[in-house]
């Protein structure tokens, strides 16, 4: 067993980098540790002392670990970190919000049309959930931005509700999607058949083609509405969460100043 295995294991556990890079870092440190150990041995230190002195030279503090992890993080991870709230610059946040708003505006026009909304009964509860999310957003927005109620204990209260409503909308979408397939597909197109039959069926009967098309229009409508609603609420949640994080960071900076 390597005399430095405990230290190397501790470094291994702390480093948050992909395994190949981690292994190379450990190999490098292990070789240098051995050299340092030999250096102290040549100076007449006992094995125990030389091991201890060498280890002391290689203690990696939190900052060093963080720097190493940051250098060896894969590009994808770095990109994901750019998206995270703590490291984003103001223009990146604005750009992200503008992009999402553009998507919401373009798709919203289609999704809110009367034809679209009459395609499935599930569209209404999804829009209801979206409105509830929007109301929750405006209440919290009013408190954070206008009243400026920034008390720590209630700072994040009400933010996650918007996120949960988004998740609920997605769940409604999945439920509605399968309901439409089952209801129109299995009951109308092929009574007594299975979902697979509906999806994979090939027919030249004009009525069945119309039924199958209607079935897919219904299920797709629900899923589209749900995805749009979830995206919209994710955006609202993001705006609130971003503000709360900014307030918390400002408070922390004040404390550390």
């Amino acid at each position: 067993m390597n005399r430095f295995s405990a230290l190397l294991k501790s470094i291994h556990d702390q480093l948050d980098v992909p395994q190949p890079a981690k292994s190379r870092i450990l190999l490098e440190i292990a070789a240098d540790l051995e050299d340092t150990y030999e250096f102290y041995r040549e100076r007449g230190e006992s094995e125990e002392n030389a091991t201890r002195l060498a280890q002391e030279k290689f203690i990696l503090d939190d900052l060093t670990i963080a720097e190493l992890s940051s250098i060896h993080q894969p590009l994808l991870r770095k990109w994901m970190d750019r998206i995270s709230l703590n490291v984003q610059s103001r223009w990146e946040r604005v750009l992200l919000i503008l992009t999402l708003l553009t998507i919401a505006a373009l798709s919203g026009r289609v999704l809110l049309s009367t034809d679209f909304m009459q395609n499935s009964i599930f569209v209404w509860p999804i829009w209801g959930t979206t409105i509830a999310g929007a109301v929750a957003f405006f209440i919290k927005f009013y408190k954070l931005y206008l009243v400026k109620d920034h008390q720590a204990k209630i700072l994040r209260k009400g933010i996650d509700i918007v996120g949960y409503l988004g998740a609920f909308s997605l769940a409604l979408g999945f439920t509605g999607y399968f309901y439409e397939l089952l209801h129109y597909g299995v009951d109308t197109v092929y009574p007594g058949g299975s979902l697979i039959t509906v999806i994979t069926t090939v027919t030249d009967s004009p009525q069945r083609i119309i039924d199958i098309t209607n079935c897919f229009i219904g299920s797709s409508t629900v899923m589209l509405a749900s995805l749009f609603s979830t995206l919209f609420m994710a955006l609202l949640w993001y705006i609130l969460n971003n503000k709360a994080t900014a307030i918390e960071m400002a408070e922390a900076e004040t404390l550390l100043a």
Partner: protein
């Protein structure tokens, strides 16, 4: 080419980088040799916790200012040697100029205070 930025907040970082690059100008070295040589040449003024060397070395390597190569030494030991690249040499020259300017300004002020 990457230009050094010698300002007060990044002083330690730049100092460490310059020390490492300057030692590597003398030829290939591995981490332990670098730390030892810096310590010896500075009569013990610049003492590195060896662990802190790795982020600096790996960052310089990523910026292609130095190049690391692995070498098998004995049956079990693999060692990484670092060498200065052409870009690293230019960067070091730029660092040297900046350090000279910095030092001159620093002494100018300290000198005034002494008088």
């Amino acid at each position: 080419m990457k230009q050094p930025l010698l300002d007060i907040p990044s002083l330690t970082k730049n100092c460490n980088e310059a020390l490492i690059l300057a030692i590597l100008e003398g030829g290939k070295k591995h981490g332990y040799q670098l730390a030892l040589e810096i310590e010896q040449k500075s009569d013990g003024m610049f003492k590195f916790n060896h662990g802190t060397l790795y982020p600096i070395l790996h960052k310089l390597e990523k910026e292609k200012l130095i190049k690391g190569t692995w070498k098998q030494e004995g049956p079990k030991r693999q060692r990484k040697y670092y060498a200065l690249t052409a870009a690293g040499r230019k960067y070091l020259t730029a660092q040297l100029t900046q350090w000279q300017d910095f030092y001159a300004q620093f002494i100018k002020i300290i000198g005034v205070v002494e008088k």
